[in-house]
């Protein structure tokens, strides 16, 4: 029996089963008791429960003048003592869970993963901490300290530095041109309690929230959400792009690396956004063609690339941690240029199947599912979350000519930032 015959038999077996499952379990969605959106993807056999709160909020404040305020406010709210005498952060730790706070130019997210039996209690605490924030001086101190550590850590993360520098080039105003975690401790220490209270009250109101839950959770738990004020959500935040982008610039830091970025389509152009997701996977995934080329060129360089789906516009971003020469960056640019020509159909079909697998593989755990649902809901496209059936359908509709056309349209004008270790650099500005 030949391999082809075996594969044909396998395909026949596959056809006998209804197998068009998506990575995300069936979802329930609706409105929270005091406004805001909930999406619940329940899988009661999961060993953990994930609870995410996402808010549309500018990272540097509503005037764009306070870098770090979103991060400080989110951390301070988690540190605020609730009525029961413990803070949300303490409760999550005591329950054996994990709490992460992520800030993006236009979004704030609070991600929690806990054992199932603690989910309802933590949901009540999380919504109380954010929907009715009572941040005091002690909580602010903790929130500032937490953010300050992030400020110091990122000085040694070339990819963060490169991303910040690239966003500053691509976008002409806040929030896009501001780093989600400020670059200096001074930025953090000048934020006052009044600033934080005002920001938290406005940004973290129930009406502006997207609560996404996945894993061992149930929509019946939503009766634990008792706090909040009913107001409509803020609109998704768009960015203003620079009219002309200098192709290459150099910055100094304590670490070496490089970053490359291209302005992409808005999330509303779901097919183009998916095509760029596909390109990112094909080129920059673990076994991607550009990743392999860079690895062969310099095994000490770590490549990471993805299309960041923002409301408008998205950004294709490539980071080259540890790059000390132009070689890796040239490899990436050459691989991206090659995508402007259509792939041969068999190669394209194989790459698309691999892409669909990677998407599903990255949406396995409750934490990953809640994150994916939260991000896309907050960016204004709740049904388009990767791992869902809409995304799967769009991905399967891609073809070589369309993908090449998207590459030609969006991936022609790169912005490049080289991060040079201070000791090696003679010129350039300091981050």
């Amino acid at each position: 029996v030949t391999v082809r015959a075996l594969l044909a038999m396998a395909s026949c077996i596959a056809l006998a089963f209804p197998l068009c499952a998506s990575a995300l379990p069936e979802q329930q969605s609706g409105t929270l008791p005091h406004g805001g959106t909930f999406i619940v993807a329940s899988d009661l056999t999961a060993p953990t429960a994930a609870i995410d709160l996402w808010f549309r909020a500018p990272d540097a404040g509503y005037e764009g003048t306070m870098p770090g305020i979103a991060r400080v406010a989110a951390a301070s709210a988690a540190a605020t003592k609730l009525e029961i005498g413990s803070s949300l952060a303490q409760m999550v730790t005591a329950a054996g869970g994990q709490l992460t706070i992520s800030v993006y130019p236009d979004l704030v997210s609070v991600g929690i993963v806990v054992p199932p039996q603690a989910a309802r209690r933590i949901l009540a605490a999380a919504t109380s901490a954010y929907f009715a924030p009572a941040i005091d001086a002690a909580a602010l101190t903790d929130g500032e300290k937490d953010t300050m550590v992030q400020v110091l850590q990122q000085q040694y993360e070339a990819d963060v530095l490169a991303q910040n520098a690239l966003f500053e080039k691509l976008f002409v105003s806040a929030p896009g041109d501001q780093p989600p975690v400020p670059m200096t401790p001074t930025d953090v220490s000048r934020i006052t309690l009044t600033d934080v209270q005002a920001f938290a009250t406005r940004a973290f109101r129930s009406g502006n929230a997207f609560l996404t839950m996945a894993g061992a959770v149930d929509s019946a738990m939503l009766d634990a959400v008792t706090d909040g004020t009913a107001q409509s959500p803020d609109r998704p935040i768009d960015e203003t792009t620079a009219s002309s982008i200098p192709e290459t610039s150099t910055e100094q830091a304590d670490v070496a690396g490089a970053g490359i970025a291209w302005i992409g389509p808005p999330v509303s152009d779901e097919r183009a956004a998916t095509a760029l997701d596909f390109i990112a996977d094909y080129l920059f995934g673990d076994d991607g063609t550009a990743a392999r080329a860079v690895q062969q060129q310099d095994p000490h360089v770590f490549l990471r690339g993805q299309f960041i789906t923002l409301h408008d516009p998205g950004v294709m971003l490539v980071m080259l941690d540890g790059a000390t020469s132009d070689g890796p960056q040239e490899s990436v640019l050459a691989a991206v240029r090659a995508m402007q020509q259509p792939l041969a159909q068999p190669a394209f079909d194989a790459a698309r199947e691999a892409f669909l697998y990677h998407i599903n593989q990255q949406t396995q755990t409750p934490g990953e599912q809640a994150d994916m649902l939260g991000w896309y809901a907050a960016e204004g496209a709740p049904n388009y979350a990767p791992g869902g059936s809409d995304y799967d359908r769009i991905a399967r509709s891609l073809d070589p000519d369309y993908v090449a056309a998207v590459a030609r349209r969006y991936l022609s004008r790169p912005a490049v930032v080289r991060i040079v270790e201070a000791a090696q650099s003679q010129t350039g500005s300091s981050i």
């Binding site: 391999v3 075996l6 594969l7 038999m9 396998a10 395909s11 077996i13 596959a14 089963f17 197998l19 068009c20 499952a21 998506s22 990575a23 379990p25 899988d43 009661l44 056999t45 999961a46 060993p47 953990t48 429960a49 951390a75 988690a78 540190a79 005591a94 329950a95 054996g96 869970g97 994990q98 709490l99 992460t100 706070i101 993963v113 054992p115 199932p116 039996q117 989910a119 309802r120 101190t141 903790d142 300290k145 937490d146 550590v149 850590q153 061992a216 149930d218 076994d287 095994p299 079909d349 194989a350 790459a351 199947e353 669909l356 697998y357 599903n360 593989q361 396995q364 755990t365 934490g367």
Partner: protein
């Protein structure tokens, strides 16, 4: 051979409010065991196949041969494409781990592609290509993996300690071998190892996720890919360490020193399993608290630079503590942790240990969140206990732990560490 089938449904008694059940069935066909954990919510199908072709099937002079055989299977061309690429092109992935006794292949795919991907794997597994070109490609792939591991101080430390504490000298050798050993093996050496040890005796297949995509027949077909017969481990004696203080030192091209420490630990089918999970959570928290910047709310690099890992599946089981000296003061962190350990073993524990039990539950739940881990855990539990109910058994063991258990386990196991220091090369 007649099928013996038992279908088991395990309720999670400890989370009645929300958890339903971990569904699992165990099928035995002669010497082959098939564990199935269907999950209709999943979009992927994952299958782990465990074969008795691990480290203890190697002679002492064959370090790395088990890995080379496994990697050769992954590099085997199928219709002019190596298996790794063919699987990827078909919407899946494949990897392997070499353990003390076994090799574990894990294949995962979109459910619609799972039959094709499993067929590809079956073909390579049943007839690997031992041509010089394919074995060369496998060797090169292992070189790259080894080089990556050598840049990870924790991996280096763990491998040093494995060599010192393993049951057999071969079973503690580096799982992937080393470049100096790998270069010696000819294609015929690899083929001979495969022919000797890739047998279906004691084979275990653990399927998870959309198991319906491949069905019982598909799993059985995979199980019957290899010829019948079972094999025995090659016994090798461990040369005891004769130094007074058991400290191993290595230098690598890394930026900061790492301290890695092994303690003996109970296997997971022991009564001490639950208490050791709680103790491990306690030590993780203690090390983290010592290293962490006081007052921070979210984990920072400082707390991620220390840790405690209870490896309950290894032979022998062990508890590994590690500290990255590049962040904070490794000596202070570890010294404080050792003091706590000593105190635990000698002083009666006052107060509740509930928080550490919850942390242990949380850590285990998080670990068991991916299909690959679920397939591995179910298979492991069936092999050692006969039951795939890893989640309920573990949660029950944690919940039953008392302060006295914690103290007993600390006293019994945490007395005599073996320490590995991984230091930066002076020429870095």
């Amino acid at each position: 051979m007649k099928f013996v089938r038992s279908v088991l449904v395990f309720a999670l008694a400890l989370c009645p409010a929300i958890c339903s059940a971990q569904n699992a069935s165990v099928t035995r066909d002669g010497s082959v065991t098939i564990v199935s954990q269907p999950d209709p919510n999943a979009s992927l199908t994952g299958v782990e196949i465990t074969i008795d072709a691990g480290l203890d099937r190697q002679q002492l002079s064959q370090n790395g041969l088990a890995a080379l055989a496994a990697q050769t299977i992954l590099e085997t061309p199928i219709d002019n494409e190596r298996l790794l690429d063919a699987v990827s092109s078909s919407g899946g992935s494949i990897n392997f781990r070499i353990e003390s006794h076994e090799v574990r292949f894990y294949v995962e795919a979109l459910s619609a592609d799972a039959p094709t991907v499993l067929t590809l794997f079956s073909h390579a597994l049943s007839a690997p290509d031992f041509s010089a070109a394919t074995v060369h490609a496998a060797r090169e792939a292992l070189y790259a993996k080894i080089a990556a591991q050598q840049g990870e101080p924790l991996d280096v430390g763990i491998q040093m300690l494995d060599l010192a504490v393993a049951d057999g000298a071969n079973s503690g050798s580096p799982p992937l071998g080393n470049p100096a050993s790998l270069i010696q093996y000819s294609p015929s050496d690899v083929a001979a190892f495969y022919r000797a040890y890739y047998r279906r005796g004691n084979e275990l297949i653990s399927a998870v996720g959309r198991v319906d995509a491949v069905g019982e027949r598909g799993l059985l077909a995979l199980a019957n890919t290899l010829p019948a017969g079972s094999t025995r481990a090659i016994e090798t004696r461990v040369i005891p360490l004769r130094a007074q203080g058991q400290q191993l030192v290595a230098r690598r091209a890394i930026s900061s020193p790492w301290l890695v420490v092994d303690y003996a630990a109970p296997p997971f089918n022991s009564n001490d399993y639950g208490p050791m999970l709680v103790l491990s959570a306690f030590l993780q928290r203690t090390l983290g608290d010592i290293a962490e910047v006081p007052g921070t709310i979210t984990p920072t690099l400082a707390s991620q630079a220390v840790g405690a890992e209870y490896e309950f599946d290894t032979a022998p089981a062990k508890l590994t503590l590690y500290v990255d000296g590049g962040i904070g003061d490794a000596g202070q962190s570890f010294g404080a942790a050792l003091s706590v350990v000593k105190l635990l073993g000698t002083t009666k524990i006052q107060g509740s240990i509930d928080q550490f039990k919850r942390i242990a539950e949380g850590d285990f739940g998080e670990r068991a969140s991916t299909l690959q881990e679920q397939a591995w855990l179910a298979g492991l539990f069936v092999q050692r206990t006969g039951s795939p109910a890893y989640l309920s058994a573990t949660l029950r063991a944690i919940d039953a732990t008392t302060p006295a258990d914690l103290q007993r386990v600390a006293h019994r196991y945490l007395g005599n560490p073996t320490i590995a220091l991984v230091l930066p090369r002076t020429s870095n």
